[in-house]
Symmetry: D2
Subunit: 335 residues, 4 copies
Amino acid sequence: MSMANENIQLGQAMQAALQEANTALHTWLEHYRPYTSNGRCAAYIPALANADPSQLGVTIIGSDGKLAQSGDCEALFTLQSVSKVIGFIAACVEHGAAYVLERVDVEPTGDAFNSIVRLEVHKPGKPFNPMINAGAITVSSLLGGKSPQQKIDSILAFIEKMVGRRVGINEEVYQSEWQTADRNRSLAYYLKGTGFLESSVEQALEVYLKECSIEVHTQDIAMIGLVLAHDGYHPFRKEQLFPKEVAKLAKALMVTCGMYNASGKFAAFIGVPAKSGVSGGIMAAVPTHASAPDSPFPAGCGIGIYGPAIDEYGNSVAGGMLLKHIAKEWDFNIF
Amino acid sequence: MSMANENIQLGQAMQAALQEANTALHTWLEHYRPYTSNGRCAAYIPALANADPSQLGVTIIGSDGKLAQSGDCEALFTLQSVSKVIGFIAACVEHGAAYVLERVDVEPTGDAFNSIVRLEVHKPGKPFNPMINAGAITVSSLLGGKSPQQKIDSILAFIEKMVGRRVGINEEVYQSEWQTADRNRSLAYYLKGTGFLESSVEQALEVYLKECSIEVHTQDIAMIGLVLAHDGYHPFRKEQLFPKEVAKLAKALMVTCGMYNASGKFAAFIGVPAKSGVSGGIMAAVPTHASAPDSPFPAGCGIGIYGPAIDEYGNSVAGGMLLKHIAKEWDFNIF
Amino acid sequence: MSMANENIQLGQAMQAALQEANTALHTWLEHYRPYTSNGRCAAYIPALANADPSQLGVTIIGSDGKLAQSGDCEALFTLQSVSKVIGFIAACVEHGAAYVLERVDVEPTGDAFNSIVRLEVHKPGKPFNPMINAGAITVSSLLGGKSPQQKIDSILAFIEKMVGRRVGINEEVYQSEWQTADRNRSLAYYLKGTGFLESSVEQALEVYLKECSIEVHTQDIAMIGLVLAHDGYHPFRKEQLFPKEVAKLAKALMVTCGMYNASGKFAAFIGVPAKSGVSGGIMAAVPTHASAPDSPFPAGCGIGIYGPAIDEYGNSVAGGMLLKHIAKEWDFNIF
Amino acid sequence: MSMANENIQLGQAMQAALQEANTALHTWLEHYRPYTSNGRCAAYIPALANADPSQLGVTIIGSDGKLAQSGDCEALFTLQSVSKVIGFIAACVEHGAAYVLERVDVEPTGDAFNSIVRLEVHKPGKPFNPMINAGAITVSSLLGGKSPQQKIDSILAFIEKMVGRRVGINEEVYQSEWQTADRNRSLAYYLKGTGFLESSVEQALEVYLKECSIEVHTQDIAMIGLVLAHDGYHPFRKEQLFPKEVAKLAKALMVTCGMYNASGKFAAFIGVPAKSGVSGGIMAAVPTHASAPDSPFPAGCGIGIYGPAIDEYGNSVAGGMLLKHIAKEWDFNIF
């Protein structure tokens, strides 16, 4: 909650602006909270099903260290598909983007996140993009380290660099994921059969499902969003964590495929690179240039949202509405 | 060639910068011209098949009126799928975006531009986006005017406002398109059967194919790109030609679905909203904020490219390479 | 009602057996008639929608001229998809089976009768079989005669030879079909685009839809079934109307693809070559060898059924049940 | 080689007819043997790849015990997909057909034998028929016995009853199958996820792949074909081994889906229920009624063919031609 505050001295005018931003954010969040009842928590594992559907939280971290938060911003949740962006970046850092892109394409599909059809219909069965399960499982086999544990450790270390704290795996969620992973195993064996999976199926799945089970709060993903907004540069650590080209690529993927089958609508009506997970998380990156000069975050920001009641596409219902409102009010749009 | 020059007085420093930009552009264009031999002209109608595959031309128009050009920038070609963006915007202006979006979605597909599969598989068969034929035919039935002639006149008038001259239809191309339109008729009758086509099939096709047959040169589409870059505002006419929301929506569609089945790759590796056609045209929009301050076009620009030798996806081979090079050198990227 | 009776002298024992068969048939028919309420008449055109859903009729004609009938056996209905078998045979007679089979395959699909997906997914787009619309439209372009009228005349003459009377086209049905033919036009234009349609789309559709609109009663299709049962030989006219090989081929198609997406179930649980139409007709052929020696029709028979209340697959609900019962009781099964 | 001979006393005229049949069979077999060069042995595992592609053998066993054989009729090969019929019958015997049919449908698909697409596209993902891998894996989980070993033992015992000798599993083939089973594992996990698989994936696969690896010669499958021809009745043991309804159902499935994606063509041009495997085996059943009275096998027969050079569909090239020739010459056809 405090890392940004510790690192950065805010001037008085900035404090006033921040106060104003927080007030606005709070009003908006409470305005959209009732819409959580239009969604339902993901039901395929108990840990997700038992989430409180009325929760809604947001954290925004500005490039200058401004921190605006509201609602259930400290609630813990698992990354789920939000981890797909992080894993993709980590694999590119490990092997170079070219190597990764030989094993996964970057084209949107319009198919369900867990669809297997295209692997059969489009020869030779290269996964269409790393934001769907087939692609993400492939990518998880490319992470740094030999054993699954090493691969997971490398991801956790990578996240720590970005968010400033060590996050961990929710073992209960992971165990549930592991036990209900039939469809993902089906995808993984298909990929093994067509040669797109480097490690064994079981190892790839362990890594993939542990990534999905990494537990965070909204500030964590806001921080990752902020690093993405700055093309891989950490504005507080003042360190380039991954290449600009990889950041651009990741943000392009977030826009074209980041919000499940509503990605096109998010691009069209919100215009901010974002990635969602079925746990209700949304991670968004607002580059400096896509932020209005008169907004509270004129130099760009990272946004983390959590709202476990999701819609038919898998995206947080109220979270998506809140992001749209923020983007409109503060004129965040890359297009 | 001259509209921009006539309207705008350029200072001396600017003249020097422009000279430099033109020189660079010329070098790059001639560097990529040999790659035209990696592609082939579209072969389904004689008028396209008979194009000179070695042609390559580019026009860039800056928000300040700067005009950089090189190669076959004055060669005439038909809009083909580039017209899909224009038709979509015009339909939104006529009916409001909400009305249009009830009849066509904004989601990318990963399918071929002329694919019919998704209309059957995804009930109720709403076209996935206006950048594929099914969606564009639907949109063509929504243009202003009752008769096909009126609809085409309204499109031509709309284009005239943007490019500053009256463009026309290449009748030879249109006749050929009409005679080889079996697949498009198949799509149109399918849409008629599912209720997504407002006009008759024959009328919708006449409008659609005439739009495809509108003849332009690179400066024309660069101008349209420039208006898109400015969110519908014409920087020389100083007039808002269509709503900002529609422009954002159109640019989002260009990014997610504008470059056929290489849209994801264009987003990932170039990062500039662009729309291509099988005639070899590429129209790109670089918003002010996505342009580097030290580039020759710091306030954004529109780019028009023509190179009739296309690749397996339907995009100009050398044109795509040139666009990528320009975007990299001058740091144009929305992400 | 009488053609068979006129032609054939029945012995007294045979008369008794026939009486018994008729009684049994009547009992069964009335037993299954209430099940008509489990189905609904096809609703896409008024003439079908307005049929009386409680109707159920059957005619069985034995190779020896025995005629058993019950229920609404004289009700008139249009052939609809039952015509697909007849058109296929006629085209084979006209061009030879080899020629026809270059333009349409004989493989079942598991897809809907009006599906277009496979034409795109399986290159080069040859229709999978003549029992689905895509295949039947292709076949209709191969009928004898140059104009649509000549082609229809040749079909009507062909039917006359089999059924012993001139049947005609229900013009009201045809007009309705023509006006609601968007999907069929879509299929036809697709086939035109891929080169599988010999005539113009409009001509092929006129022929196809007129075939569908041919009006018959159950005895008509029972007679055609009888000729099929005898491998193209007309047992009363004592004339080979079409080659044995074509008859075998047609019956194989009826078994593998004749009952829409319930063809497998009809084969598995009934075992009699049959073809249905959405108007509620079922035409079945029981070859001599597939008929039990102690049944009332030991030398095989043709069966015509009409019951306009159809199920989700498009097959007459009570008609299918009645056919199953008849086949079981009298041990008709080709397997 | 001799069981039939031992059990049955053949009269002298019959001996002469048999001699003639054997001579004819030999001539035909050697005529078609050169066509083996048009095919290739399955290459996905060494044991199949190393088969002698020029081999071709046939055994026909008549209902009266007549045994005609030619060529490589004693060569051993693994059942592969021929086992799908046997497993399906055994599961029906164990649970009743109704129970089995709740877990697998009986509709042909037109898709590849190992296709996964339809499981996703057609909700709720019930396998379309037991002759494709998805269906056969489901069925293998329904065999009698608790452990995989018990299930395999029950299948081997069932086969023994039909063929009169204990056949075994080719362990080398099984090990290879197990190691290259990625696609089958993908199918099995998909089915597990949708609830259509009763046992664990690993157990179902062990059973399925061991069934595929059962080693036989042509006389074995000819005997099974003979029992099928007699609707489950063993004409030499004089014992009903499985219900008539199950036999009819199995033969219907062989006709509609038994010969991979050439099933329609086999039905149309040969007309004999048959099941093939990628090892080059074909098992066919000619019911009494479908056999010409003046053929050497007037009371029906079972046919076993082996020819490891297979075509693009997965069917023995020369084996299919030989079966077609036999069926034509001796007038075997169920239609």
